[in-house]
């Protein structure tokens, strides 16, 4: 869904109006960046992902048939690029990441240890599980809205959300 009042901006942006697109970006940049940084755990990667996603959105916007689905579409752009970023990172940083995690677990205590455990568990999740948790728990998107955004039934959304949460809990347990 796109916010009431933004439909016109989307139409204008699709017609090539850069100012309209800037207004759309400005209203969504913080949330997009928070989403990407929460999924990736890296501000630098989130910066690249968000920039790429918005530029791709601009380029392909004229082809977006249902302009009311702009936000859902933008979200997909961001998540897909997060997925790509995680794949690239897996190839290039596999060893370094494991080392870093080992150090983290040695040094951490108390609340910091809890946060480190959550980080380790979260980073073992796939990007779709991460995305669901971010949308629901960080951005407080209700299940019904998530379902509309993902284009899947509400029951399926709940199931996926449940699966994401269960996966996180499982990974946490696995480390205890």
């Amino acid at each position: 869904m796109v916010a009431v009042g933004d439909e016109d901006l989307v139409e204008r942006a699709a017609a090539g109006d850069v100012d309209a697109f800037e207004a759309l970006v400005a209203a969504r940049l913080n949330r997009a960046f928070r989403t990407a940084s929460a999924i990736l755990g890296s501000e630098a990667d989130a910066h690249d992902v968000v920039q790429e996603a918005f530029v791709a959105t601009w380029r392909h916007l004229p082809k977006l048939r249902d302009r009311t689905r702009f936000d859902a579409w933008l979200n997909k752009m961001i998540v897909n690029r997060c997925r790509d970023a995680l794949r690239r990172r897996r190839r290039s940083r596999e060893v370094a990441l494991d080392d870093a995690l080992d150090h983290q677990s040695e040094d951490s205590t108390g609340a910091a240890a809890e946060m480190a455990a959550l980080t380790t568990a979260f980073e073992r999740l796939g990007v779709d599980h991460r995305h669901l948790l971010v949308m629901h728990h960080l951005h407080r998107v209700p299940v019904a809205d998530l379902a509309r955004e993902l284009g899947i039934p509400e029951g399926t959304t709940k199931w996926r959300l449940h699966a994401a949460r269960a996966a996180l809990a499982r990974e946490l347990e696995a480390d205890r």
């Binding site: 090539g16 755990g41 794949r87 960080l138 449940h162 996180l168």
Partner: protein
Amino acid sequence: MSQRTDHLTDEAITQFLRTRSADPDLALLSGIMDTVGAARQDRPWLWLRPIVLPRRTLLIVAVALLVAAMGAVAVGSGLLLPAMPEGPFEGTWISTSDADGGTQTMTVAISADGAVEMTVRDTIATVCGRTPSTMTGSGRIEDSNTLVIPSPLYTCDDGSEPQALSGPPLQEQLRDWTLFLDPQTDTLSDSIGGVWRRPGAEVPSRTKDPLVNLKPVWPQTSLEEVREAQELADDGDPRYTWQVLGLGPLTDARQTDFITRFLQEELGWEEFDVSVFPGLYAGVVQDGLWEMLAVRCAPGQTNPLYPDDPEGGGCAPTIDEHRYETVIIGAEPARPDDPSSIWVVSRWVMLQPSDVQVTGINYRDDSGPVVRRQVQQVVPASDAEATALLETLLQARVDGEGAEAYLSPSASQIPLLYATTSDAPYERSEFELVQGPVWPGGWREFTVRLFAAGGSTVVEQSFLVDRDEDGRLVLVYGALDPGKDVLTTENGGALAEPYEFLDGEVTFAAAPPWDWYVGGWGFTPTMTTLEFGDSYQLLAVVADPLPVETGCEDGRAPADAEALARSIRSDPDLEATEPVAVSIGGIDALRMDVVAATGASVCGEGGHPQVLAPAPSAGPNGDLGWIGVGLRHGDRMRLYLLDLPEGMSARILAIAISAPEPDFERVVEAAAPVLDSIEFHAP
């Protein structure tokens, strides 16, 4: 044993994600816009902004030149010629979407300095009580295809005030009224859903023409062909009625020969499979677009890797012994939401090979790296390999150690790994093949049985023999049917899983299908919610709840369970039965049934009457919205209220079981074992 606790609360996850996320730096917006400013937009062919003048404009120019020439002659002869439009917007337009029986006529005039004046006259205006109306306004052409009227003025010709039928005031709704021109069809669509055509232009049978965005590639290849085919299909012409697929469940491509004909006639495939298996890419309908995946099978060959699979057995790969030519096809109806619409293929693409080693696990993760890649069949485990793996695992479980090495992804999720619920060690085991190998992932599904206590206790579990991402054979606790939610039974019964509440002061057990409720904010330090089957069949446990007063205000903290029961009974928004004395976990409790009263106040984003509010200590409600225990009209709630023993961290406990009336008794019955299992552990 899998231990579920409420340790991982919503708040813990939220807090973690807040810590993990960040705000962008200020330079990001300018960086994006600098790039955007230099980037060209990709435009679909229908919306191409022409570099040269569109055909209609060229025609207008030619006619204008002709008219000018004729005008020069006419001046002398006294002939009066009609004025011709000078721009794509200019002139007269008739609405084709006015549903109230009136006629809306728009005239657009553009002065020499580029100023636009617009007038719309409506012979029957619903917003004026079906009397005539006039809308006027001046505006600007934003680009060659967009005209914006920032502040149109809408008046009823009889002097009355126009009344919007819904939503904001009419003037507000009309602000920045925008007309979009499709030069291909010479049609205007406006920002509130209207469609406008030139007087005398052919009007399609539908009030709005959805075809303007369709790009057919098969069997029709142009909009004109689609229009003609639709008309003939509407007349029952069998040459086109096979394209009418209805709007029902289109996710099984085998239900229609539409895809079959596409694959045979357009791609020239003799044999193919259009439903590789559920979960890979069986076909989805989204935003009116039906996408499905098909693989080509080698003609006349059987599949040596899957001789017994009903789908894959007759479908041998075409590229090499593993890989199939694979296509994704997108089809859509010419008239959305119309079951008599014909469907056309609007896109298709041959997929590329996967760049990772494909295993069964890849396929079961529908977001994984093989989705939208060529289908690649996995070499299934042989009978001997599967048997050896299972025997090794089961022997380790009987031995009491070492089973983890054969399990993926983690043994921690597998209940009763080495002993029964009563801690009886396993004495022997057996297994049987349920199905498989299943194409193309190579899975074999087994039921394993572990016997304890001289055979009087039997634990039965479901496992898949699968391959991990490195191609190594592993056992996965699971089943191929994603709807199978009971994977372990003990003596035929689903295992009750343990739950903790109030940091372990309250414990209970619930067997599937009772499960965590994920449809809302069901988890706070003082509230835990389970659902039974669906999100309308709930069991909520709430510590120190507050009554809810009319107007959705939290009531005052009650002195005890009896006071809380009195508050609920006196709430005019609720109808509650007289409390009955019962016992829960050895503690005296009050039981009452509650329904929402007619005309009850509604609270929260769910818009339902509420029964209980959370304790003030439950955390901030602000950005969470309203948390509490609510009741929909038509639902019934069984409520247990009890005073907790001295020394516990809460004084009152409420247990609410709610369900729609028709399901209520069944859900209450299913909740009985949960209530029976409740134990209190004073610190």
